[in-house]
């Protein structure tokens, strides 16, 4: 095992992030696991260490606490070769957010929180001229829908942000991978009624992400068929789309 090969996973208590952590540990990565709830994070870190012999460190990180991001990243020694932004917040579904505070939180976590930490990360990777950034966006950002448009637009903003970041970091040889999962069975979606034949396990998503990383991809739809589903949905004329219940 290369002693110095570290990746940083932000929002590591996410079920997709956990699945990715297992895969990366198996492939020889050491991991910084950062999230808010330290108890489950410590269990994850111990488990990864005992199963795969990697170094796995649990760290407190709150995407909303922008001020802390600088010192958080500074504290990582050695610096990670790559960073995964997995944290995300769906908010209550079906009905529009009750008050602005809820909407604000969705945008702050999914967009501003990600921007805040990634700007710091990008500066460092740019200097070191290597590495990768993986951002977990969503197919929900591809087109706004009545049922979750605040979440959707926060993810759209995040996707667009990653697009620009990709262009900026390309010269420095840094890969920026935008991941757009479809419906994944996680605690985020546990209480939703998802279409049975369209749901995916986090392990499958993790595998797709890792493969896309190795293949140097820019944008990943996972599972692959979401590229076509979203292609079709995006192609619908707005005049028709606004009448649909999707």
């Amino acid at each position: 095992m290369k002693k110095d090969k570290f990746a940083l996973i932000l929002g590591a208590n996410s079920d997709i992030a956990r699945a990715l952590a297992y895969l990366m540990a198996q492939k020889g990565w050491n991991l910084y696991l950062a999230s808010r709830r330290l108890d489950p994070l410590n269990r994850l870190a111990q488990d990864l260490h005992l199963r795969y012999g990697c170094i796995a460190q649990a760290l407190y990180f709150d995407a909303l606490d922008y001020k802390s991001h600088g010192s958080f990243y500074k504290g990582l020694q050695p610096k990670p070769e790559g960073v995964v932004v997995a944290f995300g917040y769906l908010g209550p579904l079906k009905k529009p957010p009750k008050d602005f505070a809820e909407a604000e939180k969705i945008v702050q976590i999914n967009f501003l929180g990600a921007v805040s930490i990634l700007e710091i990360v990008a500066k460092d990777l740019e200097k070191r001229k290597k590495g990768f950034i993986i951002g977990l966006s969503s197919v929900a950002g591809d087109r706004g829908r009545a049922s979750n448009y605040i979440y959707g637009s926060s993810k759209a903003a995040f996707s667009t942000y990653l697009q620009g970041l990709r262009q900026r970091l390309f010269k420095s040889g840094i890969q920026v991978l935008t991941v757009k999962p479809g419906f994944v069975v996680t605690k985020m979606t546990r209480d939703l009624d998802l279409p049975k034949h369209l749901v995916t396990q986090p392990e499958k998503v993790a595998q797709d992400i890792y493969r896309a990383l190795k293949a140097g991809k820019d944008v990943l739809y996972t599972p692959f068929y979401w590229r076509f589903i979203m292609g079709a949905i995006k192609a619908l004329p707005e005049g028709l789309f606004k009448r649909l219940k999707l």
């Binding site: 709830r37 108890d39 489950p40 269990r43 111990q46 488990d47 005992l50 199963r51």
Partner: protein
């Protein structure tokens, strides 16, 4: 929560139940508040209705290894971790679970709850012998540390307590050092029950012993193969564990008995010389021969099967086994090959099954008339001073079960005093008033 048809390993009985999945430990208090009459479920390898209830709590989210001390072999892990995973991770480092059942697909929680025994019971006792501490969640009390020193009463009730003392969250287990991933196996071919029991006595000093017995063979009654195992010293530690192959469907009728007996007879006649045979076999093959086939229980057909396991004191062994074989023959029902093992002294746990003597486990496909036969067998076992294994049971009567377990009343009292008797119940605990 999902509503689903579900059954234990024997696929009898099948019930409709509400299935709740624990995602992570933090969710447990809220989940248990919600439950009105439920029971934990590990990997569903108990045969009957031990893990069945109106509400079933899946423990598979409790899946983390938490600590390991390579000096002492002490492992702390969450209760949903399986022995398979322990073997996968720690066998290459020279460690193995101290007691293993006939399948590695059981959870730590299930192993503690049934206080499982292995082929080395006559030397090392039950699983609980190697358990240093348990972390237990009791709805009214929260999380309790349970060991021989702390809350000892609860320790003796929880080991063997079939999930009825609360949800096991963590187990601290002492693993055993092993020199290799192989077993030196001797197979001895024996013509009848008496010879088999004598052979068990003769090979008492061997670490692992087990016999496969064909109870349907006559003249003399019950021929068998005694397998003796010791850890092989000079063999590699690292091996690839096999991936189980699936039995892909449920055949319309049970295929097991005729098959297993046929394979057995083929093996037996192949070795007609009856010279003991020596092999070097992977641990997995020695301990878990059936794990090669995932869902092998499907071979018993849609109606499922029952396993019947009892233990009788040594001096009653030959008599009991003969009577049982004769009763089965008389009934005209078929049973599969039976597994015979030797037990050492019993432990202090309230409901642990093993006691000094011989234990026999038989599979019967579910058919009309089976319960009548089993009722008769129950009486023979009781007469001999024996008792029955909860992890295999789906049909015992309370009056029969009780006779084998002198501490049952203490177990009941403890459950009541902890407010567990209503909330935590299985079909089995209701049937047997546990």
């Amino acid at each position: 929560m999902k509503e689903k048809e579900i059954a234990g390993w024997g696929r009898y009985p099948k019930i409709k139940a509400k299935i709740y999945e624990i995602g992570e430990r933090e969710e447990i208090p809220a989940l248990l508040k919600h439950i009105s009459q439920g029971i934990p479920w590990g990997l569903g390898r108990s045969y009957g209705d031990s893990a069945l209830a109106q509400e079933i709590i899946l423990t598979k989210g409790l899946k983390h290894f938490l600590a390991f001390d390579p000096q002492t072999g002490l492992l702390r892990a969450e209760a949903g971790v399986s022995l398979r995973e322990i073997i996968q991770v720690f066998l290459p480092q020279g460690w193995f679970p101290p007691v293993v059942p006939g399948t590695q697909f059981v959870t730590l929680g299930g192993a503690v709850a049934a206080d499982i025994h292995g082929k080395n019971h006559h030397h090392h006792g039950c699983f609980s012998e190697f358990v240093e501490e348990i972390l237990l969640f009791i709805p009214e009390n929260g999380i309790l540390r349970v060991s021989r020193q702390e809350n000892p009463e609860l320790f003796y009730a929880t080991c063997g307590g079939m999930g009825l003392t609360g949800l096991i969250l963590e187990v601290s287990l002492r693993l055993t050092r092993v020199p290799s991933a192989f077993i030196r196996q001797t197979s001895i071919f024996l013509a009848g029950l008496e010879e088999i029991l004598t052979a068990f006595e003769e090979h008492q000093q061997a670490l692992y012993t087990v016999a496969w017995v064909d109870c349907s063979s006559t003249n003399p009654l019950g021929r068998g193969i005694l397998l003796i195992g010791e850890h092989a010293q000079e063999a590699p530690l690292k091996i690839r564990l096999q991936k189980p192959r699936a039995v892909p469907f449920v055949p319309p009728v049970s295929l097991v008995n005729s098959w297993s007996i046929r394979i057995f007879n083929w093996l037996y006649t192949k070795q007609a010389s009856r010279k003991p045979r020596l092999d070097l076999v992977p641990l997995e093959k020695f301990f878990f021969p059936l794990d090669k086939w995932a869902h092998w229980h499907r071979l018993y057909g849609p109606r499922g099967f029952l396993q019947y396991q009892f233990v009788v004191p040594k001096d009653q062994g030959l008599y009991a086994l003969r009577e049982i074989a004769q009763q089965i023959k008389k009934s005209g029902l078929s049973s599969s090959l039976a597994v015979l093992k030797l037990f050492g002294p019993e432990n202090k746990n309230f409901l642990s099954f093993p006691m000094e003597g011989y234990t026999l486990a038989l599979d019967f496909p579910y058919t009309e008339g089976l319960f009548r036969l089993l009722d008769r067998l129950d009486q023979i076992i009781l007469e001999c001073g024996g008792r029955f294994y909860l992890a295999k049971d789906a049909r015992l009567k309370a009056s029969v079960f009780e006779k084998g377990y002198p501490y049952l009343e203490r177990f009941r009292k403890l459950r009541k005093s902890l407010g567990l008797d209503k909330k935590i119940q299985s079909l089995q605990s209701r049937r047997l008033a546990l």
